[in-house]
Symmetry: C2
Subunit: 256 residues, 2 copies
């Protein structure tokens, strides 16, 4: 997500906060995720942000409405709508699979967002909790990842509702795209919300007259609620470039 | 652990708290784990406990001393000493492997505890983060668990320090004992800290004159900081008996 935002909005300054003291969100209840995400976004508001992008699919799935209400008039953008849009655009058969965390699947936000765009779509979901840990371990290929992908995908491809498109509905899953694609087969398209969200953010900023006026390369500031070292190590897997622990600020986001 | 405590101390009442709003601890820093474990234990003190057993290996590894200091004179028992004792007793070669979380391995408490009992022991450690998620998914056998075990154990058994005993140094790992044993081979003993900790607790209670006077079956009370439903589902895997969500109290352990 950060990579897509930086590519599409090179002039904007970004503040990236990882709530590493309480991750993962995907195994927690909607109430707890909403409380954590609200704290995190309120903390970001102290840094004079003009828009919040909820890049965690779980938080965007279960907490977007309460977050937007609590933080108004700050524009709050989630990744579920853009992810659903990418899925609907990519699918020819209208059969779309969603791979996500336990909490995202339970909340059903992807199913609703896809049906809002294509009421006839047939949506199947699979909670893929182990993918989160596999991504964090950096085990993005090899026999463990493949066996896990086979186990998670098998139920989706049984029977007549086999999807032609899989939405990677968790920020962690794109790094496993190769192994998921190998198991799903080459006729199945994989999409995620990064590119569509970045485009959506660009349009929203322009529509609100909020786009950066100045030229030049925007800065990215990294903050984490625990262990900058681990954030740098694991974050590097996702961002596709090295992050140095000394460039990650350790922050306490609990309200005063 | 709970099972072992109930078996050895049938007359005692137990209060079991799972900090499900912030788990897992094993990927977090020593500072954060210490803060969380202190909050959790302080919360338990409101329930008039006479002793605290830190059944999470990560918390016991990195937070036992600060916890004992903060909560004195409450007796605080960890699982690392008893786990190390079980490993040293079981090993004939003096080569002991420790499978644990990232935070436990980094903290080195098992290495120190084993050396305190047997200074000549050769201790090797493997951080096995995926085992935690596999246990929570209930994937305790099958190809994914086996492939993960092969990958984690391979480095331990390379070369001359191959252990004859593996200490399962995380509360989650005993449910994976069968698959770990299959990969390690039948000449390798697997031990965990449950039985030795229960025996240690029994001795300590007796020594302090604190053992329950009355006869009859002690009660167990379950509390969780998030989602009683998930606690009941996942907890059932570990306890080996059904837990009903309605018997789990949702509690807020943050200090007033």
């Amino acid at each position: 997500m950060l990579k897509a935002l930086r590519a599409r909005l090179p002039h904007e300054d970004l503040v990236y906060l990882g709530d590493t003291a309480r991750l993962p969100y995907g195994t927690k209840s909607a109430e707890t995720v909403t409380a954590y995400a609200t704290q995190a976004t309120r903390y970001l508001m102290r840094h004079d942000i003009k828009m919040a992008v909820i890049a965690c699919n779980t938080a965007a799935s279960v907490a977007l409405e309460p977050l937007a209400a609590a933080l108004a008039p700050l524009p709050v953008v989630g990744v579920v709508g853009p992810g659903a849009e990418a899925g609907v655009k990519a699918s020819k058969s209208g059969r779309i699979g969603v791979l996500a965390t336990e909490a995202t699947v339970r909340g059903g936000a992807y199913v609703r967002a896809i049906h809002a765009l294509d009421p006839a779509a047939v949506v199947t979901q699979a909670p893929c909790g182990l993918f989160v840990t596999l991504a964090e371990e950096g085990w993005v290929k090899g026999d463990v990842a493949e066996a896990a992908a086979r186990r998670y995908l098998a139920p989706l491809f049984k029977g007549r509702n086999a999807p032609d498109t899989l939405v990677l509905g968790c920020t962690h899953f794109p790094v496993l795209a190769r192994v998921i694609g190998k198991v799903a087969g080459k006729n199945v398209k994989l999409v995620d919300s990064a590119a569509t969200t970045a485009r959506f953010v660009e349009r929203e900023l322009a529509a609100k007259g909020m786009a950066a006026k100045r030229r030049g390369k925007g800065k990215t500031r990294f903050m984490a609620t625990d262990s900058p070292e681990r954030f740098a190590r694991v974050g590097g897997i996702f961002f596709g470039e090295e992050i140095r622990a000394k460039d990650v600020e350790l922050v306490d986001i609990r309200p005063d």
